[in-house]
Symmetry: C2
Subunit: 454 residues, 2 copies
């Protein structure tokens, strides 16, 4: 294999170590916040039976990667498997499979890869990492979770160097009730057409609605509804001014107003009622969310989710749930591409312990070991080159300190900050680097950013 052609695969991003550190710190920040909010980690297998993955709408079927085992004999009766395309469908299955062993309402987070065979383009990958939180109840899921989940995500994103963003939120009951109140009975069909606003624009949607059998007045009302947005509950009056009365509509308006009001109390201005939001996946039944980067209107959503009342049901009990997902790969790729975030150094190593000659390697290992025992990442020089070369190696790796055993005037150790050139006496049992140098940290701006290998 050694001389075969090596090339990146479009849609399957990989990061260089510095950029990977950025991604890892983003994931750590999400995880820490999710755990502080009492969400339990779950990972599901990467595969599901194909028939469980299909039927989720949004042309999801076509994007599924199916698996075949090369060694499978003809006639092997194995389940036909595919890679999951999100973390909600496998989680719903996990809940059903383990319902008797979970405590409800069950709060879980799941940070894992998913795969979709869609056409690779800016922000759209074939393999990507998502960070999901969901709450699933047995039978009844209180409305307060609809505001709790976006608040958890806001807490998590507050830990990151995020550009301005908003959580655009609607409620499927609003659109469905409104369409029904207008006299349009195939509300799902109308929703699917209106959902294409971004792609085909107002005129395109209007034309399709007319084709679909709507009157010009009905089509205009649908479009007017989709225009409404507000960061407070004022959207309710805007909808009412369109003059449509329907019970489901009222229910949706009350629910969305509660969500917007509760979120605005804790973090004003981030959650926005935006009645254009529909979400393509068929399983949503109530509140739906899309997290959009305000400065990059053409970039796809860096998060999404919603309430699903019927995804997990075993026929007797149903487990309504609500989830919100952060598209980690999509978010990190954008933060890096725009130079909005970097890492203070591209390696975990804080100290390189120099080696005067190979016979001294054992002593250098002891020094490194003492530093590590105190939480200071240390490695021993790869070779007993001239010290100048060992310092250059540290410099190329981005390691801030080089340690010289026995270099002091009294035979003690010394440590050099290779950025300033300062070299001072030091003992492995008590020296500490400045706090900012202990571990790599996220920094605003490109930091030590590397070219991406997407």
């Amino acid at each position: 294999m050694s001389t075969r052609k090596i090339a990146p695969l479009s849609g399957f991003p990989e990061f260089l170590p510095g950029d990977r550190l950025v991604e890892l710190q983003v994931i750590d920040a999400l995880r820490t916040t999710f755990e502080l909010h009492g969400f339990s980690s779950v990972e599901t297998r990467a595969v599901e039976p194909i028939e469980r993955l299909s039927d989720q709408g949004e042309d999801a079927d076509k994007e599924i990667y199916a698996l075949t085992r090369l060694g499978a004999a003809e006639g092997d009766d194995e389940a036909r498997l595919g890679l999951h395309f999100d973390l909600t469908v496998p989680f719903a299955r996990y809940v059903l499979e383990n319902a008797g062993r979970l405590t409800f309402p069950f709060r879980r987070y799941q940070i894992q890869r998913a795969w979709r065979g869609e056409r690779p383009q800016d922000g759209r990958f074939r393999e990507f990492t998502q960070a999901d939180i969901d709450v699933v109840a047995a039978s009844e899921l209180p409305l307060h979770y609809e505001s709790e989940l976006p608040l958890v995500v806001m807490d998590a994103l507050a830990e990151l160097p995020m550009p301005p963003y908003a959580i655009h939120t609607s409620n499927r009951k609003i659109a469905e009730g409104f369409y029904a109140g207008l006299g349009l009975t195939d509300t799902v069909g109308v929703l699917r057409i209106v959902d294409k606003l971004d792609k085909i624009g107002t005129d395109g949607v209007r034309a399709r609605l007319l084709d679909f059998g709507a009157t010009p007045e009905q089509a205009d009302a649908c479009l007017a509804l989709a225009e409404i947005r507000s960061a407070d509950a004022s959207f309710v009056d805007a909808v009412r001014s369109l003059g449509v009365a329907n019970e489901t509509l009222e229910e949706g308006l009350a629910e969305l107003a509660a969500v917007v009001t509760t979120c605005a109390r804790s973090r004003p201005g981030i959650l926005i009622a935006d009645l254009r939001i529909a979400r393509g996946l068929d399983y949503y039944t109530g509140t739906v969310y899309e997290i959009l980067l305000s400065d990059y209107p053409d970039y796809p959503a860096v998060g999404s989710g919603g309430r699903y009342d019927r995804l997990a049901s075993d026929g007797r009990t149903s487990y309504p749930g609500i989830g919100l997902s952060v598209g980690v790969t999509r978010l990190v790729a954008k933060l890096l591409a725009e130079g909005l975030v970097g890492i203070s150094r591209p390696t975990p190593t804080c100290v390189l312990v120099a080696v005067a000659d190979e016979a001294a390697r054992a002593d250098a290992l002891v020094v490194a070991s003492k530093l590590r025992a105190r939480g200071i990442a240390a490695e021993v020089s790869p070779s007993a080159d001239k010290f100048g070369r060992q310092i250059r190696y540290a410099d190329r790796r981005g390691i801030p300190f080089v340690w010289f055993p026995g270099a002091g005037p009294d035979g003690g150790d010394q440590v050099k900050d290779i950025r300033s050139g300062d070299q001072v006496d030091a003992g492995a049992a008590n020296w500490r680097p400045p706090d900012a140098d202990l571990v790599p940290v996220l920094v605003p701006g490109p930091g030590t950013a590397e070219p991406q290998t997407t």
Copy 2:
């Protein structure tokens, strides 16, 4: 999809939340140690072109999962992709692809899933997580890494409640030089036969060696070599007493003696020279390792690795490497199955904030928020049930503390340790749980272990 049959898939393990916490803590401990030793995190895509995955020996081809995109049109000229079966092959490709942007020797760790379609059985999974460390150099890789890597893994495993284990180590040059010195020219063929000792036993291997053209004396010598093991350098004399002289053999003996001696100095008794160890994968060229649990001789290796001099080469430069991999899923599954490890509580939540009525939920959110700001995981009660029911919910979840806003005699808050029943005055701005209750920790023994869903 809601009422379709739900069943676990054999070979694709999933953990309940408490067991997942055990796995997560094992992964965290490995990662922390790897970073303290200056290894950079890398993740590679899950897929490789099929032809890069095949040809690695050990019947690896048959175990590969190939992907097909359901929506791919006939004649789409897409690369044929498969899921990686280890992390070494993709890492070697990553090194070649990014050689100009990495600093060598390059130290990386990679904790990621891999897939092999082998027959599921005890300790053998079709989807599993591995934690690998590798050092790759440009052109020359010094021998000292052959002892450094097992020492790093020993440091990592020392953080875990491990049962007795040993890192069984050999060097391919010993067997190859020895066979050549005996006059057996197809040394790879002999190695493959001897590698089957565990499966077909001494008599079986002897018979196959004779079939292969070895004389009875040659066959006996091969078997005698495979019997040799020592926790110090005494294996060298044992090999020499077999009376075979060969330059490659001597090189291998010197290398292995250095590794054993260096490791014994830091952590005596764990790394064992064991000349039976061969490792099936064809890419190894020097030192090879297998990590075995001493009390469970029939359980497959929970780690393995070795030196590979020719895996990554672009024709001009070759990048010799050495790696050691911990089989996280295999190790965690065994620790759990034997009741050797558990978790102090199965949920991250430390405090449940009770809600007297829904109007009080906003205040409860403020309390929870204050606790979280101080690193204490808190969630607000799902409903404003009677306090007895809220306490029972905490109990079922394994949450140790319930917080009652305004329950104190002076209108201040109180917190109850639901295990002891003690309820005391407390303020969200300064109360702290006992250290042992702050976050879930690994405990020896089954802890709050749950039934596995493998």
